[in-house]
């Protein structure tokens, strides 16, 4: 009996039970496409988080006080007897172009915890920063509407503010915020600008933001002795390490640090933040991979189930074929071809479905396909299909015809 003839038998076998054929193919297709889409989604969301952090500026270094507590104002002697808070003087020293050739600029930040109101609306900013105009560039924040405040605003201590989009929607729905006066902790601030939408970086809402001149914030809200941080911008991402060394040299001198392992300040840079988040988002990818693996397994069990349910009928059929003189090899080949066609067609449809499905945004995340996941999903389902299509057939083909005919 020719191979071509056996292929015809296999196709006739698939054709004669269209429901089983369709269900099996769909089972494989759904398994494959869900794995591809889930992994693409995980990959896409981790890429989105990384891009969000990169937007914050990768050449920014933040200095924070190590004196316990956030602002460092609540002086605790626990760390070091000689520990000093961060001062505006530190920021000025860091801006020295001779001592710090790789630092472009530095801006002190006084952080206030307060609620802002406009009429009956209120909003509590995630961060309320009193700072210098240099902060905007150092923290990669741009004003989309209105203007930045100026160095003159800082020296004059003018109560003006640039706000983020979340504050706009909270306080000024239907009102142009520019020129309006909001009250923060009872103090009036005139809005002069709105920042460009930043979105969330995965941890906090980058648009729940108020930025005002340092002097105004210190005078009315925080007092003069407790800077939250100093934001330093390196000249480029390349010289970030050099800038880091310069920061340490200058700050150690400013703070009279004797033991470098016991500094009263610490530095954070976006690069290290990026490293932590990319490792946490790879955890996300692994998690999604596990979900995908489970869905592949469930899909596989579905395929197995359909295959096994028909095994009784197929076993009887194998018994009949053997009784009328079919060689075992011809039977095996036919059933393996059937299983191969089912698995390949199912796997192929699944890949197409996965590729199409990955084009659509899921909860705002654009999935990005991981090429190896396509091969993995396809390979695994084809193997499952082949095994569970082929194995029962090979078992049945080894039975005596009468045993196969009686099988139940």
């Amino acid at each position: 009996m020719s191979f071509f003839e056996i292929i015809r038998f296999a196709i006739r076998g698939l054709n004669s039970n269209k429901l089983r054929t369709t269900l099996t193919t769909m089972g494989i297709a759904i398994g494959v496409s869900s794995v591809i889409i889930l992994l693409a989604f995980g990959n896409g969301s981790s890429k989105a988080v990384q891009a969000g952090i990169e937007k914050l500026g990768t050449n920014t270094i933040t200095i924070q006080s190590n004196r316990g507590g956030f602002g460092g104002g609540r002086a605790s002697a626990s760390r070091s007897a000689s520990s000093k808070p961060l001062t505006v003087g530190d920021a000025v020293a860091l801006s020295d172009p001779i001592k710090a050739p790789d630092i472009k600029q530095a801006a002190p930040v006084a952080g206030a915890n307060t609620t802002c109101t406009f009429g009956t609306n209120s909003s509590t900013p995630g961060s309320f920063n009193g700072t210098w105009p240099a902060w905007f560039e150092a923290s990669n924040t741009t004003v989309a509407k209105g203007t930045y405040f100026t160095n003159e605003d800082v020296t004059e201590g003018r109560r003006v503010a640039v706000i983020g989009n979340t504050i706009v929607t909270d306080l000024f729905t239907g009102v142009n915020p520019i020129g309006q006066v909001m009250r923060c902790g009872g103090i009036p601030f005139t809005i002069i600008g709105v920042t460009e939408k930043k979105g969330s970086n995965g941890f906090q809402d980058g648009d729940s933001l108020v930025v005002a001149p340092l002097t105004a914030v210190q005078r009315s809200l925080t007092g003069y002795n407790n800077l939250q941080s100093i934001v330093v911008q390196a000249k480029s991402a390349k010289v970030q390490d050099l800038a880091q060394t310069e920061i340490n040299t200058i700050m150690d001198a400013q703070h009279k640090v004797k033991n470098v392992s016991n500094r009263d300040y610490r530095t954070l840079n976006q690069a290290s933040l990026l490293a932590t988040t990319s490792s946490s988002s790879s955890v996300l990818t692994v998690l999604l991979g596990m979900i995908a693996g489970i869905s592949l397994l469930v899909g596989g069990i579905g395929i197995t189930n359909i295959m096994l349910v028909t095994v009784i009928e197929r076993t009887r059929e194998i018994g009949i074929r053997k009784a009328i003189g079919a060689p075992k090899r011809a039977i095996m080949t036919q059933f393996l071809i059937e299983a191969t066609i089912l698995s390949l067609v199912g796997g192929f449809l699944g890949v197409i479905g996965g590729l199409i499905g990955s084009h659509f945004k899921i909860v705002g995340v654009q999935p990005i396909i991981i090429p190896s996941s396509v091969f993995l999903a396809f390979g695994v389902s084809v193997l499952i299909g082949l095994f569970f299509g082929g194995y029962p057939a090979s078992r049945a083909a080894s039975l005596r015809p009468i045993e196969a005919l009686r099988y139940e």
Binding site: M1, R12, K322, I324, G325, A330, R400, I402
Partner: protein, 232 residues
């Protein structure tokens, strides 16, 4: 000349211990080329079991079976497939047609496994279906056929390979008296052409056509007689 069928001390046991059933309990039977044998006996006496052994579809618990001098138990899968496909035409008590497959495709199947192709295969299958009077039902699937029609498809499938040994397990069970008569005429013709025919039946008028009647009870042969009424 050795017999076509040579069953020696055949035992077929189902189950073990107290639950053991001896479907065949020491059967000796020789059938020569060209014989026409009817096997009779009450239900459960082991007729089908013996027939399955003779058709090389099942194996014995003890004893030996030679078909055309070949010991079936010693053959490998390929040789068994050849024996089943070329030497034997087997008609099952329960038809055993392949589901969702047309009558024509069912009849063509044994020819296909013998490597007979295209036109010849189709014309031989058509001829066999014509013999059983189903030429107008060739594209019907088993579920679209009556019990008697299915049985006739099964007969056509067994005949189309022109086997030298025809084994039929109650082939007339689902047929009316006219069809029964036609089928028995066909068996007579086949037998007249020198082929061996073995038929299991409950009906005396079917057995009356055979030249030899073997009676079974409880897995044993209780009588083996030459049929005088056929000696015309």
């Amino acid at each position: 000349m050795h017999p076509v069928i040579d069953v020696q001390g055949a035992v077929k046991q189902y189950g073990v211990g107290d639950a053991a059933i001896f479907a065949l309990d020491g059967v000796d039977l020789q059938i020569n080329q060209g014989e026409y044998v009817a096997i009779m006996g009450p239900s459960g006496s082991g007729k089908s079991t013996l027939m399955n052994i003779m058709g090389a579809l099942d194996n014995l618990t003890a004893g030996k079976y030679f078909l055309d001098g070949l010991e079936i138990d010693t053959l490998d899968e390929n040789a068994l497939a050849l024996v089943r496909g070329r030497k034997i035409g087997f008609i099952f008590q329960s038809f055993n047609l392949i589901a969702r497959t047309t009558a024509l495709a069912n009849v063509e199947l044994p020819l296909a496994y013998q490597g007979i192709k295209g036109k010849e295969r189709r014309s031989r299958a058509m001829a066999a279906l014509k013999v059983v009077g189903l030429e107008d039902r060739i594209n019907h699937e088993p579920t679209e056929l009556s019990g008697g029609q299915q049985q006739r498809v099964a007969v056509a499938r067994a005949l189309c390979t022109r086997p030298s040994l025809l084994l039929a397990d109650e082939p007339t069970g689902a047929l009316d008296s006219k069809s029964t008569h036609d089928l028995l005429d066909l068996f007579d013709q086949i037998n007249a052409a020198g082929r061996t025919v073995v038929v299991i039946t409950h009906e005396d008028d079917v057995a009356a056509r055979a030249k030899r009647v073997v009676r079974m009870r409880d897995g044993k042969i209780i009588s083996d007689t030459v049929n005088k009424s056929v000696s015309k």
